[in-house]
Point group: C4
Chain length 342, copies 4
């Protein structure tokens, strides 16, 4: 049963490497059976293991996130609701996104559960995740958000028709706008700078706290992987309750651009791009800069593990002094061989 | 004290097997005393251990679930409440069902805590729970919902009389309808297809996330039985807050049909069946299909453990090729003997 | 330093036994220093260890519980609140009592953290807690509720004056009644039977779930002391959100009678006793019967550990057949000597 | 790589001791690399490790705390919100501060995560934290609150302008006052004594429960560091929901004075000091007295570990009898040498 088909195995490794993934899939040893590898789909699944995990993690996150906005927005003020005040207020949106992230992390355990290109980005920058992983993760994350928002639309199509009118689909500041179900639109009193700042600072908090939660050198208070999903619930809830008003706390390209594209395709018009003074690029760019800054702050002020910040000239030495760079690269490769990790 | 009465013991095993249960009750070794087995009731309890567990698990779940709807619906707008706005809004129903499931799982630890025929169904389909367990679990689960809803009715009978008038019991779209306390009725703007889709997709999410939470091969993020009840709190809360409006997120025959039957018996009239265009069958059928689909998605895209999906032709080979089926069955039996498990 | 003053030590034991407590205080071994026992107060504290724990546990519970009612009730509708709708709605009272119980359990770790005479009662009945412990626990619990409600009154005296008028203190159905801050008053549409039933069924749920959470023989789902306080949060929250309207879910003599007595002393008049048709005795009696019934159900249907229910004739044999009783008593004593436990 | 530069190392120790910190930074052994110590910033970070931790812990706490007040207060009643009732009610402020404290504790793991000068104070008083640590912790904590409130202001500046008018900044009782975003102002019906009492009693509860949660001699209920941040969530939530109305539950100089100073600098005028009858000093003084009293109660009635309360004359003997003091001091030093701790 375990007569390893080493050709098949090495094919898999090659395929995974081409996609930028670690040659060995993150899979429990005794499940990695040669027998199953002879099944075509099992091969595909092994090759695409982390992208699948990120896809489904983001899918779950956006299902609950977009779903909560849909329910609160579309049922607002409904008198036949138990309690007579609709099926949820704004706070339920904080719940939706927060538990969506928590459950998404449980689902995406095999890929690191970034669920956010900006977090992958910062992890590449500061935590030695290889840059070549970024593209596949990015694609999987955006696709997860794109598909999930389509399913949410399909689920709420009757209710959207009821609020907007059959076939009418509008974007804020329309008073019946349902586009905010899918992606974020800023409050109308915001200046461009403030929009950017709001997304930036929320992303900074996101990354700073995640790095603290993942930091095994931060002792004194018990942490650990088991607590991570629950702590993220509180973190995302907090961002929604404390910094969610002005720009909708996208803080994630996959959660904003994916559903925005879907809403465009579904007929919300070019206003999905032009609304708020072509706001759409802010939640694409600000999270990367905010997360990078949050990671920077954490590594500068708290982190004592290995980080480019904790090297001479904040890691810039390599760029300026080629010899240092070569030395670092050599050390890098040596370690990989030892640990069987790339 | 431990002179095992082996006749009694084998009678118990026979009785349990006839009910489709594992011959050995899931009971801590040193509690399985022969002495107690001589007590009639202890025998009954050993024989019916898992059905009792499922009954009480669903009972607790429905007590809190139906109880929360009753309190919110019946007290809506009451000015003498502290806070002057009744005793809870819709979000408290999300709380009620979510914590009801969580506490039900704690109660039903000995049976696997499915609390939902559709989840038992998917576990038979994908996780090797023997099909012959299904009927007894089904009966216990439905009875649990049936009895609990009767107790909730008894508890709230004064308040129901106050809202509806003495002896009057109505079903939506009546403006004083109290039938939604017990089982789900769809929103009036929903098409039949959308009703079905809403229950289907919520059940898909339910099963997909539960399989992720129960998946020991899904590494990277700490999970474990200890976290399962709390994670289910968030999952059920999310389904209520994000997909609970349109059709009331029944996603469980035991939680919907059991109380519906009770409400029929209690005098809500045949409208409990005919309301919403004979909607009652949707929350009976859709959860099975939705959970099956959710399990399918998880096993296709993420799961690497043993699953019919992870075999040639998605497990269909057995059906088509008798020799494969016989081989599989033999392997199946051999393992049972080794593990003492059926 | 450890020259044990055995006279002092045996005095302590005698004192504790007279109070119905275990001769040995539940205290970490190396803290039980003879040196400190020479301090008068340390002696007192050792003697009264469990009563102190219960007192403070109930104190914390009632501080948060009564405090939450006070804040929600007194600030209702205040327009200058952030959010313009007062400082909390009914759901915040569910939060207050639930987290009060949770934190009270953390505080009262040394006494078993019953915090409720009805739970002590059921534990004596079904879980071998000696009956002679009951009186001291009872006194400590009631005192805890009594004192805490006085502190809450002192804290909110300005606000009570503002709502009721200086020196005016009223009880429902007065429209400015502030007495419900301290103890429970039933809704006016309730019949006496329903009032009793409501408290009874809530107490039944309370005890049933607590026995499940404390049941180490209930396998399959991870439990454990560490999860107990959090699970109790959800349990108490659920009782408030699902069964808290009709009679205010006292389910606890210490939480209801203690503060009721305090409110009587503080000048709310004899109406605190006569309101609701002399309702005050219901939350004193119903919890005992409800908890006893909840424990009965759990032991009959689920529990397989040692319980009088799991003996011939549900433990009645002892009463009817003296020889059985003597045998049981002898076994009881033998075990105590072995385990050094009473 | 590990050729320890012992000069550098001893310089660090000296620098830390001058600041009142333990000579050895709380840092995972193998991260304490001599190589990195040659980097100037790494040196600074080692020297200021605990102050940095406290700074960022308070920063995170106040970001979420002030942020939640800002969002609820500024968006109150906004009809374009999903749900049509603004972006959160008062309960969301309980969430904000509670999760802010929880996440702050995760961040500040290396310093003990006091996040509150009054808690540092009580820990010095009762738990042997050296008094010379107090000043540096104090400065770091206040700075954290000061800086965070400035960032919150920057984030919400457009929204503040919208509510108050451009450049107008007011303090209660102004009907458009936005100063309560930053620090606390008492309700207008409160007497001075009641204001003080409200802050005092909330601080007492805070310290009493924290000492219970940190008490390893409090057995019976599982505790542990891993549960501490979550338990603090519930504790702070409870203080907000049950004792947050009258004076805004500052219970922390760093959280109140820091942001108050910032709001003064930002142009809210001298009314930030004079409002409520120069209320500002109450949340500076009351928390120290309240926390000291809470710690006193816990140590008198529950704690059996080492505490000045658990010594003759409540620890006063040292003051009165010099010989006792000398003996105690000698014992103190001996232990330090053994444990390498000061």
């Amino acid at each position: 049963m375990r007569s390893l088909n080493s050709d098949a195995s090495s094919n898999l490794k090659t395929a995974r490497q081409k996609l930028g993934l670690h040659p060995k899939a993150p899979i429990v040893e005794h499940d990695d059976l040669a027998e199953r590898q002879s099944l075509l789909w099992s091969k595909v699944r092994l090759v695409l293991r982390e992208p699948f995990a990120e896809f489904w993690g983001v899918f779950i996150m956006v299902m609950f996130g977009n779903g909560s906005v849909a329910q609160v927005l579309l049922s607002a003020g409904q008198e036949t609701a138990p309690g007579k005040m609709g099926f949820g207020a704004y706070s339920q949106i904080s719940w939706g996104w927060a538990l969506g992230v928590m459950l998404g992390i449980y689902v995406a355990g095999d890929s690191g559960a970034y669920l956010n290109p900006a977090i992958t980005f910062s992890s590449c920058l500061y935590r030695k995740v290889p840059w070549r992983r970024f593209p596949m993760y990015f694609v999987a994350q955006v696709l997860g958000g794109f598909v999930a928002s389509g399913v949410v639309y399909a689920n709420y199509i009757n209710a959207i028709n009821r609020v907007e009118g059959d076939g009418i689909r509008t974007v804020p500041p329309s008073s019946t706008a349902t586009a905010p179900i899918f992606c974020t639109y800023p409050q109308d009193f915001m200046t461009r700078t403030s929009m950017f700042f709001s997304e930036f600072i929320a992303s900074t908090l996101l990354m700073f706290v995640i790095f603290a939660l993942k930091d095994n050198t931060n002792n004194g208070v018990g942490k650990g992987d088991k607590w991570f999903p629950l702590a993220l619930f509180f973190l995302i809830y907090g961002l929604g309750a404390c910094f969610g008003w002005e720009t909708g706390y996208a803080i994630n390209l996959a959660r904003d651009f994916g559903p925005r594209l879907m809403s465009y395709i579904l007929g919300y018009g070019t206003e999905v791009w032009s609304a708020g003074g072509y706001y759409f690029w802010v939640p694409m760019v600000a999270p990367f800069l905010g997360c990078a800054f949050g990671g920077f702050l954490y590594d500068v002020f708290v982190y004592t593990g290995e980080s480019p910040i904790n090297t001479p000239w904040l890691g810039m030495k390599r760029i300026i002094m080629p010899r240092e760079a070569i030395k670092a690269r050599r050390e890098h490769h040596r370690r990989h061989k030892e640990e069987g990790m790339v």
